[in-house]
Symmetry: C2
Subunit: 401 residues, 2 copies
């Protein structure tokens, strides 16, 4: 393993990485640091080619010491689709989608869970707890099962229902709360303090980011190490955008990529847009968003612990932040299915809506290479499609289409 230590991006304090550390004493999330020169000597781009098509192909840049601790359900190396039909239609011929619906548990949360749980197992964690809008809880519950770790999951009662079943069948201890993810977070924090559990809340342990950063590594490899111009990411807790930015910085430090980094775009819903609001005011942190409400439930995060890291990633890459309406999200979901056959989650659809808006304003130029990050499959959101097909009797006939 090439991890050297944990580092606070706010106060620069460092921590030893072999203990089960949570936040920095200053309250900031911690980042995992590697000896990148040593990684560079240990592995080449060509070494990756024959490796399995999962995220562990980047094991030198991941924080697990002993391979026996890896819990792998086949996560990673999700398809990077060139959206030919849709791209022509919306005048972005170089429009791509990274489809994180094609992954265990159906969402990109599997990446954070695979790496986070594997590392938790390695560190000897027996019980972990987390608040969730559904999909992260489902993913951590799934990976905890083979790891022999008990997962305690608390999610809003109004969250989409399918992840409840996923948590339950994987054997997690599941609770609902009549409130938002921030309410679930407070319940988890007090239980963690009382019972001594490991807190697996977003960014309260350092390893989930490492899993999410593999999206950035894959985008780089799948484009032949020549980066796209823009990456749009639906932003709730923001771990993905933080992770992608971290991945690109590591690849840059290793000399595996060069030139300007892609402009990173945080996409939110107009019903919960704390990052957009902060970005518009050029602030370095966000304010708690009151009355959060959007059908893109996965990005209903009123105040993210890592907001300052998200905003930094945007500022450093000349990116931006955009909010889109629920109506536009549903239209984008339909457009993707009708043109490309991909059934995406509302959060993923939001990135298309934002890209179309940015193309209209000229912020995205027509020839630019643009990547939408679809964070999950629409199969987990069947309620977003309304359908009432005609019911026939045996022997009936069909009209000519």
């Amino acid at each position: 393993m090439f991890v050297t230590h944990l580092e606070c991006p706010k106060c620069n304090r460092t921590y030893e990485s072999e203990a089960a550390v949570q936040l920095c004493d200053c309250g900031s999330p911690l980042l995992v640091r590697y000896d990148l020169d040593k990684v560079k000597r240990a592995v080449t781009k060509a070494d990756l080619i024959p490796r399995n098509a999962d995220l562990w192909r980047y094991r030198e840049l991941l924080p697990v010491r002993n391979r026996d601790n890896i819990v792998c359900l086949g996560e990673g190396m999700t398809p990077l689709l060139h959206l030919n039909q849709l791209g022509r239609k919306v005048h972005m011929p170089n429009l791509y989608m990274k489809d994180e619906g094609i992954i265990p548990t159906g969402t990109f949360k599997a990446r954070g869970a695979a790496v986070g749980v594997s590392r938790a197992k390695e560190l000897g964690i027996k019980v972990l707890a987390m608040p969730t809008n559904g999909n992260a809880g489902a993913a951590w519950a799934a990976y905890c099962a083979p790891a022999g770790i008990e997962a305690v999951i608390v999610m809003p009662k109004d969250a989409p229902p399918i992840p409840r079943g996923e948590c339950a069948i994987a054997g997690a201890s599941l609770y609902l709360v009549d409130g938002l993810i921030s309410d679930a977070g407070k319940i988890v924090a007090s239980a963690v303090a009382e019972h001594g559990w490991f807190d697996a809340s977003t960014l309260k342990e350092p390893y989930r980011i490492e899993g999410k950063k593999t999206m950035g590594l894959e985008i780089a490899e799948q484009f032949g190490w020549r980066l796209p111009d823009v990456i749009l990411y639906p932003t709730g807790g923001g771990v993905g955008i933080i992770g992608i930015y971290k991945a690109l910085q590591e690849l840059e430090a290793m000399g595996w990529i060069e030139g300007k980094l892609p402009r990173l775009v945080a996409v939110q819903s107009t019903g919960c847009a704390p990052i957009v609001s902060a970005w518009e005011k050029k602030e370095s942190e966000s304010a708690f968003w009151e009355g959060a409400n959007t059908l893109a439930f996965g990005i209903t995060v009123p105040k993210a612990l890592g907001d300052f890291l998200v905003l930094d990633a945007i500022y450093q890459t000349d990116g931006c932040a955009v909010a889109v309406s629920d109506d536009d999200i549903l239209r984008a979901e339909e457009l993707l299915a009708a043109c490309e056959g991909t059934f995406v989650c509302p959060e993923g659809a939001a990135t298309l809506s934002a890209a179309m808006e940015l193309a209209r304003t000229g912020w995205i130029r027509p020839e630019e290479k643009v990547v939408l990050l679809n964070t999950g499959t629409g199969l987990k959101y069947p309620e977003t499609v309304r359908v009432a097909p005609p019911v026939l009797e045996p022997g009936d006939t069909l009209p000519k289409s």
Copy 2:
């Protein structure tokens, strides 16, 4: 392209492959034949290594002439998981699962659809129609969208609901029927005759098998071209088992694999077991199963057009056919989730149930390498998990676990 012709496995009549042919004049499904010597000279096992992790890596063994006709959503090279925990528990240490839940549309039907639709596009088809228990319809609807082909889909009204939304959002013409898939099939057959549509019903066109056979190609490659001893497959229409057997025969003819082929096991539900019944009587065809009823809806096929090919694959490989109960299926689904973190569909769970039964009787020996074919994700069957978690108020506390 290396296709030479289409061939009837029943009467051996051959057909030219560049026309849109359906069944043989004798009523049998047709199989695609290749110049395997030429394939062998054109590609080596090593050539595959740097190719994309999708089923088109085997393009020399697939029936699409012009790459521009390929509709790819990233399907194929699904994970082959070693079920360590579960294998120890059920005394099959070499138990594996090929997880076809990690694929576009969430089921293995994506393979048949990707190849079938790509070829239909190449042959100039404008409208196709099919009966379905849900997942095949959803997959064909999805692939037809970017191909510019209109899909007319008829499914039983009692089929699980999620695929309805998938069909609708992809723009298919969707109908329900108050009956079984066999009733839907009759409606489609009469519409095809009346309107001149292409009939994409199971095995009524030759290319779906070619998509499904890639499961066999992948199993061979993922095991390093050394085959497992047993493959268990949940059998409705049986295209997958026919396809896997065809793949293994082609690889054998090319000299890419040697030794005894895996014993192929057709797994059905006790509520609909025509293949099991025929196999028990050593018959070469099955009889229509009256009153079919099982929660494993995808394998509710009272009489499969390719039954004789399924039975042949079983007999030729010294395989067998096993029926399992709905209760055992639900128990197996829970066992897989609790031990391995994988949330599988009931059809996939049935294969675990069957493997455990065959291990109990000694038909599977403890040291044998056994592959369960999970045909889809449990996310499409949320109703199979019952869950009623406690609901907390903000500020509540959690009990110690």
